[in-house]
Symmetry: C2
Subunit: 242 residues, 2 copies
């Protein structure tokens, strides 16, 4: 049975403060929940309108679609909603390529980037501390289950970069063409900056390589590419093997 | 002065039906409005909280921020809102590369793809008739002014492809690697399918080349890349010149 406490808890997890206090977040939709089931994440409670998940041993509650609509964050809920435990991030694997995001603010962008990283086999994303929370429901939704496979750490970017000797690259509106200046990037970090302001001067100073994606037309428009598009192109260029 | 009729008209333009009847749509934000000013589009009426646009000869209305909040489609409006005339799409330039979108449904995706096409110098997008409307406010917002520069036609895809003899390619989950099988694509069309279902079997039959973006990891996850990411990678691969 759906209890008042369930409703209260789920509503509270819309905000970062209560996700942090409760160490829980919400995942909706069968496919994404299965991705989390198949990962190391712990499903605290599952709310289902049907018996899709009956074969799993889960702490689950059956409810009507109307009840699901009451607790769902979506306009058109997708039959299942899970409360999942936020686990402590794993150690960063510094023998592989890492993606760094400085002050990323748009949840849709972060979700898309998590999915892109998953596609390209990137295991670790590092976000600067004031970046959007990866357990924000819009991030979870846009990541389409990839959040279950990509390890995300929030930390002091400046300190982290200072302490490491691997290759540090960043993407800028001006720099070396990503198409012409590829280096072997089996380990190191590529940093992408905030949607509006790019990489801060403070972080720029710490970087060894400044990459840019050249514009393909002769005008000055558009000013920039969307952040998720930039990440797609940069990872495609650096990681593809012929 | 902001009139009741203004408010009524602007609210009505939220829906496709009334955009179509009135042949008008809404653009918000200084940068995007300037992009439309610098294009062949006609600004019917401009609502401004300040004098940023006073140097232009526009049919404009000064209003308070509170009044702007009343008419804006955004939570945090950006000082200016313009009603813009929907112009008849231009002829498709079939001597250049065209992007085809079959039944694209997510407005954020279409907006992102318009911006990506603008970046890559693509002038023409063709959408199948039941694709999301490019004058939908979320599309306009996500395109960041690029909608003023990219020509979008909605037409019967099947008929259009049947009538043309240029190269027709499409992107699929299985196909020839986009990294290995590039052809000179100075003219022709590349089709991308619906977010959930991909390209329909009917359209697939009309295509000369089936491209895929190979996965960069050994698992079966994620199932797919986001549509806008796919467009970014495909255009980057096909159009870049070393």
């Amino acid at each position: 049975m759906l209890t008042k406490n369930d409703i209260k808890l789920i509503k509270s997890l819309k905000t970062k403060k209560y996700r942090f206090l409760n160490k829980m977040f919400i995942v909706e939709g069968k496919k994404s929940i299965i991705d989390f089931l198949n990962s190391e994440h712990h499903i605290v409670k599952l709310f289902s309108v049907n018996n899709d998940f009956d074969k799993y041993e889960l702490n689950s509650v059956k409810l009507s679609y109307l009840e699901l609509k009451k607790i769902s964050y979506l306009k058109n809920p997708d039959d299942h909603l899970a409360i999942i435990k936020i686990s402590v991030p794993k150690m960063i694997d510094e023998n592989k390529l890492i993606i760094g995001l400085e002050n990323i603010s748009d949840p849709g962008n972060l979700g898309a980037i998590i999915r892109i990283c998953d596609w390209f086999g990137i295991k670790d994303i590092i976000c600067s501390k004031n970046s959007v929370d990866c357990y924000n429901s819009k991030v979870v939704q846009a990541s389409m289950g990839s959040l279950s496979r990509v390890n995300i750490n929030y930390l002091d970017f400046n300190k982290y970069l200072n302490s490491k000797s691997f290759t540090k690259a960043g993407t800028f509106l001006e720099g070396k063409s990503i198409y012409l200046n590829k280096i072997s990037f089996s380990k190191g970090i590529i940093v992408f900056g905030n949607e509006a302001n790019g990489i801060s001067p403070e972080i720029e100073k710490k970087l060894d390589i400044k990459y840019t994606i050249p514009r393909f037309n002769n005008s000055k428009n558009p000013e920039s590419l969307n952040l998720a598009s930039s990440v797609s192109i940069v990872l495609s260029e650096l990681l593809k093997s012929y």
